[in-house]
Symmetry: C2
Subunit: 632 residues, 2 copies
């Protein structure tokens, strides 16, 4: 799935009054020790989540701009919004004249720091919620401001919350427990493995701040954040203690109590102390105060400034990726099998959908929203379906060129036999997370559309079939996806792939395939990423072909330095529309790849369609997986 | 050319006495304010040069290990040497039992900081020459030591120099002036351009510390360092002043005085003040002391700690690449034409050499050293030849697998019709710098040798023929060079290409093609890099195919976002031995590339051979450039 989902509303929010209120509280002794001349409103929540709960959408509240990435800064005179190329149009539509759009990535756009320095009076204070800003970002910003004579200061109470009178409650939904058949490893064994990593690095405490890491560690899932089966919680793991910071009566659920063995008298080092979510800071400060020299506390360098500061500097051990993040990325056999099952069910739903679309689209009654809803309906018929894994990108014609598009009534377009249709969608099943993009034409594509589609397909295959040494980082594969496009002067302005969670976040670290990410960890067998090159022509159409793929060992003729090789196995098994392929642009090897892939779709998904008695969809699958024949 | 040249001697140097002396001066109040418990001896000189003069080979002097990369650390009890995979064998051979080899890149090898922390008594002082250690390295090392309770301290007098009784003199050779026909831009115009970059960044001073940057800026060359046409000097450029720090009577040379207009009464802002080389620190300190707030001094972040510290922190403006480094990388028309001429002459010399080798090798009288000398002889016959651009890598059979090999009497092997021969060589001509590798067989290569050679060739072509958008960084092309090898489980453990100077250093920044370099600047038309994938089989053979290539605009069918595309044009025009190619492993496109390349060699080099009356070499060239025919 591509960069997430954008706005529901495309008309600007009137923010004059809100900004006036914010500027008042920026000077109010009730909230700030000293007035702040600027206040930063980042995108994230206290866990640096990519997807956030409504109560955390503070930047959207103050500005109207609700794209997934953006930072607002309000000074006494100005209000400015930094966002990236995906959101220039949307932000411009959603914000009123009070706001200046700062287009990141353009040459003349100042950084937040440079801009602040240019507009602030000497010796200013710049405020930010210390729970929302990651420590690494605080450090960079603080240094830049200090060198220009200003100060970055933590403002304890979030100033947006003080003026957000109808702010929704923080969600606190029931938990799901996952047994060994799903997770492969018990939470006790995960704690044991974590403690052994801690011992290796000589740290005494580990602070779990990312929501998906808490969920993974305890084999629990929640639904506090839409599309992400996570729940608001922190954990602090000691060598003999486990503290879980979580609110509500969720620990009263007998299934959860049983799962976490809260009532058993087991070994004290696996006894979980349950504490209020809001007590994390004071508890961590107490841990920090009790440390002796050489005792260290491990945190992600993306943990919030507030939690990082709770541990005195000399005792901090910060890494870009936590051991949980890395362990979570390498799926075990149970997780891999679950992901396979989830992808089979997902393919069944999509075969049903595409079969239905082939019949309905020519009637002119199917809109992007109807198609998206239908996709969800078919998915929800599958076993262990929980929810979607992101807002469906259902886009036809020019809407397909908006990479992060989500249909809303104002933009909703009717599918037709004259336009390309791009569907990027996925679901959370109890056994796995899916994310698949297919680009279809329900009439006759033009030669140019086929040409572009075929270049994208060549890129998709180049990554999927790539063989590379163990230890290779994903970013070294990114150019393979672009080479065929580059040859003709084309390209796409997003990364090629992201890590995918196992019934967890559809975007997860630490691996990926992108020209942008250099901090990615090496790929290893068991990791799961997406492979999704594309091509977008503004105002005309969008093309993307996305499979979720599993990193597996590769057999090679030789074995240099005994390093071993890796390649990818597609988990997604949904036909790639052969009507869109210009076969003569494929090499024989690429042609064989398509035919082998379709053969596998036919066998695996065909059997499941048969089992589920979905005969019409099966007929569609068989017709769509006819082998390509390349004229030599 | 691959990682530079290694040792002359393979027997260990006995260092017991030297280490005793060093440990004495480490405690001597004559040299250190307080005793230092460890002393670091880095590889470099005060300009962070890759190639250094004999007087700067302090690490080789104290340890015996004279590879191009390595850091020695001596404590009261230990002596340890950090070096990378290229030099594990050589360092082990050249160092006696006093030394512990620290193999960088292996999992269990501690970093210098970690090792120091593990061996030093509490509260130790670690000394280093502040002129030799780059500021960025000082910062990292100092921070790590401080957090463990130790101190990194600058030791003014170099402690190795105090015990190096027969240390050679710092070279001070005459200068060469380059006129506009070579440089395309006068030094005055280069100063104007630099000052405009300084104005853009609002800096008042720029400190030129890299030797090739000084040489480039003033359109001067020297020969103080073997293979690199540079001279020991610094420069400090102000908005109205130019200070050149240089020793000897080199400024007495009338040609130099005329070139630099030292005696003319021109505009004061182009008046060069010549100062002693050794006065740079005190002059810079004076500059630093005279700054008002907001006045900044621009330095490379790789400049020495000593010079960086001369400017108070608040006034420093540090960047990884200086504007001179970036301007120097983009060759203008005069430089490009010079490079073309140099490569034509170089190809003539190599055609002569290979023709000679074809006749002589079967007689069994040609050794690696004889072949290298013969290559130099043929090159020296060409117009404007100055010297070699690096020590020739002339290696046959198993020696070819030693990537940085240089033949010495102890290892010198006779070329034969049974072994692969790898020649990596280049020269400095007054109009350009060359660097070319060819791998030849003078008998009948085995099917396996041809297979490996062909994979390397496919990688070479994949880079050379790559089309990519303007703004692409070189590291994004690295995997193209490896893909064919990876498919069979093979690889090579070095980067694919480096920037090449124009009658300057054969290795220069800021561009390159490597999986390792992430700080590379985007490629742009006019940059020149090498394209040199390889394959090495320990104990058997080495294969490398290297051309120097020019970045040029590419014509493409489409032009996404009007960005424009780039590709490479080979400047090196020396036949690639077709005998080594398994044509059936090439695609038709690759086959065409080879044939087109050979056609160009035949035309361009053929004409020059003809002009020079070198008829036998011309016959060889024509025979070696017969088109390949691929059986479909």
């Amino acid at each position: 799935m591509q960069p997430r989902v954008a706005g529901r509303k495309m008309s600007p929010k009137i923010t004059t009054e809100l900004l006036k209120q914010l500027r008042q509280v920026m000077k109010s002794p009730k909230y700030v020790q000293e007035p702040v001349q600027a206040y930063i409103v980042p995108s994230g929540d206290a866990h640096q989540s990519e997807y956030i709960a409504p109560c955390d959408c503070r930047r959207a509240f103050i500005s109207g701009f609700d794209g997934s990435a953006g930072t607002a800064i309000v000074t006494e005179q100005h209000a400015a919004m930094w966002t990236d190329g995906r959101y220039f149009l949307q932000a411009a539509h959603q914000m009123d004249n009070n706001w200046t759009l700062m287009k990141m990535g353009l040459k003349d756009t100042p950084t937040q720091e440079d801009w602040l320095v240019s507009v602030l009076p000497e010796g200013s204070k710049v405020g930010v919620d210390p729970f929302i800003i990651p420590a690494d970002q605080w450090k960079r910003m603080s240094k830049a401001l200090r060198s220009a004579g200003h100060d970055l200061v933590p403002v304890k109470e979030n100033l947006i919350d003080t003026i957000w009178t109808d702010c929704p409650q923080r969600p606190c939904k029931p938990l799901i427990t996952l047994d060994l058949s799903y997770t492969g490893v018990s939470w006790r064994d995960k704690i044991v493995a974590l403690r052994s990593k801690m011992a290796e690095r000589k740290v005494l405490w580990f602070v779990v701040t990312a929501l998906d890491e808490v969920a993974w560690l305890f084999n629990l899932r929640g639904s506090d954040v839409e599309y992400n089966p996570v729940f608001f919680a922190y954990a602090v793991i000691g060598m003999n203690t486990i503290r879980l910071f979580i609110d509500g009566d969720r620990m009263a659920d007998p299934a959860v109590r049983e799962h976490l063995q809260l009532d058993s008298t087991l070994d004290p080092e696996f006894k979980i102390q349950v504490m209020p979510y809001g007590s994390i800071l004071s508890e961590l400060q107490a841990v920090g105060a009790g440390l002796s020299p050489k005792e260290k506390v491990w945190l992600s360098d993306k943990a919030s400034y507030a939690l990082t500061e709770a541990i005195p500097k000399a005792y901090r051990y910060l890494t870009p990726y936590t051991p949980i993040c890395i362990a979570k990325a390498v799926k075990n056999a149970s997780e891999t099998e679950g992901m396979r099952r989830a992808h089979i069910k997902d393919a069944v739903a999509l075969c049903e959908l595409f079969n239905w679309l082939e019949k309905e689209v020519p009637k002119g009654t199917v809109t992007e929203i109807i198609a998206a809803d239908k996709a969800e309906e078919f998915r929800s018929q599958q076993k262990d379906f929980v929810e979607l894994s992101f807002a469906t990108i259902s886009s036809t014609g020019p809407n397909g060129a908006i990479i992060h598009y989500k249909p809303v009534p104002e933009t909703n377009r009717t599918l037709s036999v004259n336009e390309i249709y791009l569907l990027d969608s996925g679901a959370q099943y109890k056994d796995g997370t899916t994310d698949v993009t297919r680009t279809m034409h329900f009439g006759t594509p033009s030669a140019y559309e086929k040409e572009c589609f075929t270049y994208v397909l060549k890129g998709h295959i180049a990554v999927s079939a790539a063989i590379f040494p163990n230890g290779t980082k994903g970013h070294l594969l990114d150019s393979f996806a672009r080479s065929a496009l580059w040859d003709c002067g084309l390209d796409y302005l997003h990364g090629t792939g992201h890590g995918v969670g196992s019934f967890l976040n559809v975007h997860e670290g630490p691996c990926g395939i992108s020209y942008k990410t250099f901090a990615d960890e090496p790929l290893e067998a068991g990791m799961i990423v997406s492979d999704e090159p594309g091509y977008y022509e503004d105002g005309s159409f969008g093309i993307r072909i996305e499979n979720v793929v599993l990193v597996i060992p590769a057999e090679t003729k030789y074995n240099f330095k005994n390093r071993g090789s890796l390649t990818f196995e597609p988990l997604t098994l949904v036909p790639i529309q052969t009507k869109m392929i210009d076969v003569n642009l494929l090499t024989q090897k690429e042609c064989n790849w398509v035919n082998d892939y379709h053969q596998k779709c036919r066998e695996v998904i065909g059997a499941e369609l048969e089992r589920q008695g979905r005969h019409e969809a099966l007929r569609w699958l068989i017709q769509e997986t006819e082998p390509l024949i390349r004229v030599q």
